[in-house]
């Protein structure tokens, strides 16, 4: 335990309260390339401590930035948080007790923690150089970000955990200058990637930009449509908050009882924070609950919710280790890695209408399930020939759509989301 946390725990132990400390100390470097030229480079440092105090069934929360504090500053911090617990009417449902935390592999890469800024900068220059080399009729932009963080949770029940994690994000964006059309690519990793990953990003963005520049609006259509994993992600995002324990508890979720049929029997959706090397993985969540695999929908049947300690307790369930937070916030419920399991049908050679991506998910209504999302890029495949389209809207109701879902076999990863292509019945206007 770092010294400041030890001192803080000592002060808290002398008070008649339950307490929880969440601390972070991190560093990030990021590089923004505009028009094939490195334009903005940055290196940020942050650290801080969030403190929750439970007193007479009520919760107080406060934070301080930095991890260098004198004893008297820490004492004031504790007093302030206890005072807030005294006036607060936020219900306190206890903190987690210690339990075995899984070993999650591949979430820390020493090379990212130790990379000298100059080397990261050189990689960004190489990325810009690669863009100049691959540039044809488009303007290329993109970014690289690298981050390292050490964080921990300590509470009065004896939880005492800390972990290190690293992260690398790569994005590329291509805009055609001759005719309107653009393509983008984003991927994140937990280990340092070399020029191959950067080149792949550029090529994927270029491919989509080329298709987008040729795309025209499609005639209205209703029927069988295949969604690429990018579009499946958007649909899952519209649905997602219905699984959040707080939304369930406060009556804002469409879902209420496990065992209900909510999707086709081929459709299985789960959240798993223990997957090796994935961007959403962690050994324990923001309250110290072990990371785990949680089935949300299994063969079309509602099986689980995403829960933190508080809402699990209010619902009479167990936390699924989905408390997400920073030192500035109390835990909130969020997903880790979301996985749509592969189905039986191979959809790789599907002929018909395929939607690559849609946008504007936040305009959809998660409780009614209705959505109308503009198509960023789609294509019609007939006799092996591919004709791109865009500017239509994909419209439907997410709950109805899921009942027609037939996942394909081949899984693709988009950051912390994994899914195959999924065939659905949908409407395009």
């Amino acid at each position: 335990m770092i010294d400041v946390i030890e001192s803080l725990a000592e002060i808290l132990n002398s008070k008649d309260v339950e307490w929880e400390i969440y601390w972070e100390s991190g560093r990030s470097g990021s590089f923004r390339i505009e028009r094939e030229t490195l334009d903005r480079s940055q290196r940020k440092f942050y650290s801080g401590i969030g403190l929750r105090v439970g007193l007479n069934g009520k919760l107080g929360f406060s934070y301080i930035t930095g991890i260098h504090h004198s004893r008297s500053e820490l004492e004031k911090f504790v007093e302030r948080t206890i005072k807030l617990a005294k006036v607060s009417e936020v219900p306190f449902r206890g903190f987690p007790v210690p339990s075995k935390v899984p070993e999650v592999k591949g979430i820390y890469d020493r090379k990212i923690e130790e990379i000298p800024f100059e080397d990261a900068h050189a990689l960004a220059l190489q990325y810009a150089e690669k863009m100049r080399e691959l540039k044809e009729k488009e303007t290329l932009s993109g970014s690289i970000s690298l981050a390292f963080e050490r964080y921990g949770v300590v509470n009065s029940n004896g939880v005492e955990l800390e972990a290190s994690s690293t992260y690398m994000g790569v994005s590329a964006y291509a805009v055609r200058e001759d005719t309107p059309g653009n393509g983008s690519f984003y991927q994140s990793y937990r280990s340092l990637q070399g020029i191959e990953a950067l080149e792949e990003a550029i090529m994927k963005a270029k491919e989509d930009a080329e298709l987008s520049a040729r795309a025209k609006r499609l005639e209205p259509y209703e029927g069988e449509v295949v969604l690429e994993p990018e579009a499946v992600l958007s649909i899952v995002e519209v649905l997602l908050e219905n699984f959040y324990g707080d939304e369930v508890y406060y009556g804002r979720s469409r879902f209420s009882s496990f065992g209900d049929r909510v999707a086709s029997e081929d459709f299985t959706l789960l959240d798993d924070s223990t997957l090796e090397g994935l961007p959403g993985s962690y050994p324990f969540d923001g309250e110290g609950t072990p990371g785990q695999r949680t089935t949300l929908i299994e063969n079309g049947i509602l099986k689980g919710f995403l829960l933190d300690h508080t809402y699990a307790s209010l619902l009479g369930l167990k936390s699924t280790g989905n408390a997400v937070r920073s030192f500035r916030t109390v835990p909130s419920i969020g997903s880790s890695n979301l996985v749509v399991e592969p189905g039986k049908e191979g959809l790789e050679d599907f002929e018909g209408i395929i939607i690559k991506n849609v946008f504007g998910e936040h305009t959809a209504n998660p409780v009614s399930g209705d959505f109308s999302l503009p198509v960023g890029l789609g294509y019609v495949v007939r006799d092996g020939e591919l004709v791109p389209f865009k500017d239509n809207m994909l419209v439907g109701n997410v709950f109805d759509l899921l009942k027609t879902a037939e996942p394909g076999k081949a899984i693709k990863r988009i950051s912390s989301f994994m899914a195959p292509r999924v065939k659905v019945h949908a409407k395009i206007v």
């Binding site: 290196r43 801080g48 006036v87 987008s212 504007g360 305009t363």
Partner: protein, 455 residues
Amino acid sequence: MEVERLIRSAEELARKHGIGYYEIRISRVVMTEVSMSNGQLRGLSSNSETGIGARAFNGAWGFSSANDFERFEKAIETAMKIAKLSRGESKIYTGDPVVDDAEMPVKRPFSDINIEEKVALVKETDSMLTGERIVNRNVSYRDTVVETFYFNSLGSEIRTVVPRIRFGFSVTAKENGEMQQYWKSFGGTLGWEMVEGIDISHWTSLVVEKARALLKASSPPSGEFQVIADPELTGLFIHEALGHAVEADLVKNGDSILAGKLGQKIAVDGLTVVDDPTLPGKFGSYIYDDEGIRAKRVEIIRDGVLVNYLNDRETAQYFGLEPNGHGRAQSYAHQPLVRMGNTYVEAGDWSFEEMLEEVKYGLYMIGDKGGQVDTANGTFTFGAREGYIIENGELRKMVRDVALSGKILDVLKSIRAIGKDVRIEYPGYCGKGQSVPVDDGGPHLLTKALVGGLK
């Protein structure tokens, strides 16, 4: 004083690393948040923090930030070292130094109101949101005061104090398996007087009634229709359909359909669109942007002609435009990007009734439900909270979950009527990698768009 030491230190470091231009922001943020769901307090916090963001320019930008006081000087040096390493070919507008001390005036500072009073406001509002078929109610309150000291290598030294308040509530109604939500938000660069001026009883009743009514509303038709947007939706529409595409950083990167169109007619006669961060008390208002440039009113479209882009120090120089103070950052830990402030459509001369009479079959759409734009393709989408079918100039049945989509270059030329009833009172946050407070509005507007309904 600590700041004076940092100013001296920055000067020395710039000399040492050969940096021509730098700017430093040190902010102290004081914030209180209260939130409640179904009568149960969910969140209550009161915090403050201080942080630094340092930028140095050497033909490309180097930036560093820190929130631990011991790292403040290190952040300045890091930004300069990065800029030294970066050496690019870009140029920026520098201009004359500015020395100022400016505070946005408030009648009742948040610090005069104790936390019990803020909790009482939230509780009272919550109690008014109850009723049949209402299964969920949420109330949230947040106030912040950001005191920023900005200085740069030109000799600018600017201290600003900006208060900001946001208060809102929502309900979910449920009946026979159907669920619908409705909400209302208030916000401004004002003090506690903002909430004292709200008729809470009126707005809570309205929110409850609308959520219930939406349960019975049907999905709208789909296809291209004549659409009348209410002032709130006009604001969202113009923010998405025009505002983002005139952000000069996107234009510079080839990422806007409006590149190369300055001076060209891109919209109908009579359409004038303005971004004005100097409007008193509005949510997107500020005194100086995060590059130390004074906020100013900018006409984007005058009578259908594109007359300006929104710019920052870099894009003003790039396009040879007058800098207009639209470089905004989410916080001290973020680099400024070109952003909107308060964007609105100026008044025309149509009344709402005259507009309605123009529509044989179409939709009247009300309320901001968020939007998004693909500026390179020129396609945007936006959602409305409620709508009504218009038949032969008359409002008919209510429709729900209405989302629209359009092409920027088509839809600005499809505007058929501009109302005279301008309102700019729709506070929100705009995301572009970073989130900043904005406001928007305008009058009623009659145009044409693709409606994505289920029917």
